[in-house]
Symmetry: C2
Subunit: 213 residues, 2 copies
Amino acid sequence: MSTPGEGRRGRQAEAARNDLRLLEAAHEVFTTQGFDAPVSAIARRAGVGMGSLYRRYRTKEELLQRLCLIAMERVVSAAEDGLAHVDPWEGLAQYVRTCVGFGSGALAPVAGTIEVTEEMGATARRATDMAGRLVGRAHEAGVLRDDVTVLDVSLLIEQFSRPAPGPPSERHQTVKRRLLAIALDGLRAPGATPLPDDPPDLDWYEGRWRTGT
Amino acid sequence: MSTPGEGRRGRQAEAARNDLRLLEAAHEVFTTQGFDAPVSAIARRAGVGMGSLYRRYRTKEELLQRLCLIAMERVVSAAEDGLAHVDPWEGLAQYVRTCVGFGSGALAPVAGTIEVTEEMGATARRATDMAGRLVGRAHEAGVLRDDVTVLDVSLLIEQFSRPAPGPPSERHQTVKRRLLAIALDGLRAPGATPLPDDPPDLDWYEGRWRTGT
DNA sequence: CTTAATCGGAGCGATCTGCTCCGTTAGGAA
DNA sequence: TTCCTAACGGAGCAGATCGCTCCGATTAAG
């Protein structure tokens, strides 16, 4: 991780700062207001003019793609941290908490509406691979109920990533932490009752991102 | 429950049928596409003309209000069914499953954007009262972890009511059932770890519906 | 001071929305 | 069968909103 604007001065430093604030603002606006939120709202929240925004991202879709990529990279990073944990359960739990914490799955609704770049695809594959290892390790250690699959965990994160309505507040964050703690307790082995229905299908899970066709 | 169009024939029967299809379509469109979804989309999905829609609901807000009221009434009904169950835990679990099943909390995002009618307020109060009894009974029976409050349960339902992106599919329903089963397991006493933060606040919970101010 | 890069935001054309209005359709009484 | 009228579907209007462009103002660097 490098501090943005590092080594830059004056106008270039401002540009780098703007870039960061833009990404944060975009993430917040898109995840709380939906993807058809006006671009101007993002610029306003970032305290930046429309000109500065469109100089960095030639189109709204390009901004969305960058946002998705960043989210995926954060997921990979969270998985690495989880894997680094000695306790298989704590590692998994921390991974889930982190992902929900920054709303990694909040961008999922764009699936199918934007083109998936090469880089996005690669990062996504890496992310699911890491998550698989995290879950596999927990399974082997017997700390995760064995009728749960990686996809269940991923979709749980996605469900908890869905933003609360209205302006984002600290209140919502604490509520989510409580609910997530409940769900995590339910994730530990063994389950009181076996899970209903069939586990999610990988093809379907990935296929949601395929555009059109 | 009375069959719509009961005792009516011909054109009046069609009108009653249309009314029902309209409400179903509106619920589906609003919860999956957001509340700024075009009214025409609802009419199309219901197989009904704009004229027929606006003859029954003079405005979009009125339709939304009716929808919220119906959802609340279904919650009350689900709570009654749960209370009728002899097993306190099964009663609560069934209540939660039912509410999530028809997305009782999916309309929550309109909070603050529409005026709350007298009838809505009364029904909401009745609903929270019933839910409180359901949770209280489970607590007394010792089948629900005691650091969980009614509001936790309500907010859990709300979180799970948030719709999956894209066209609604049976796949999503089964996924949700699995995730909900996990969460319900985590709800049983005693929790592996105490819940973090403070329990949700009632004033805040209800206050979300207060418009403007 | 000059220069050139970067800034913020007003405004353009296209799109889309809530809602109205009206010609058409089809029950039901005579 | 014939006519009346209640209920129907959807084209279209006026206004709002959107993505994006363009340009005058601003300011670091030489």
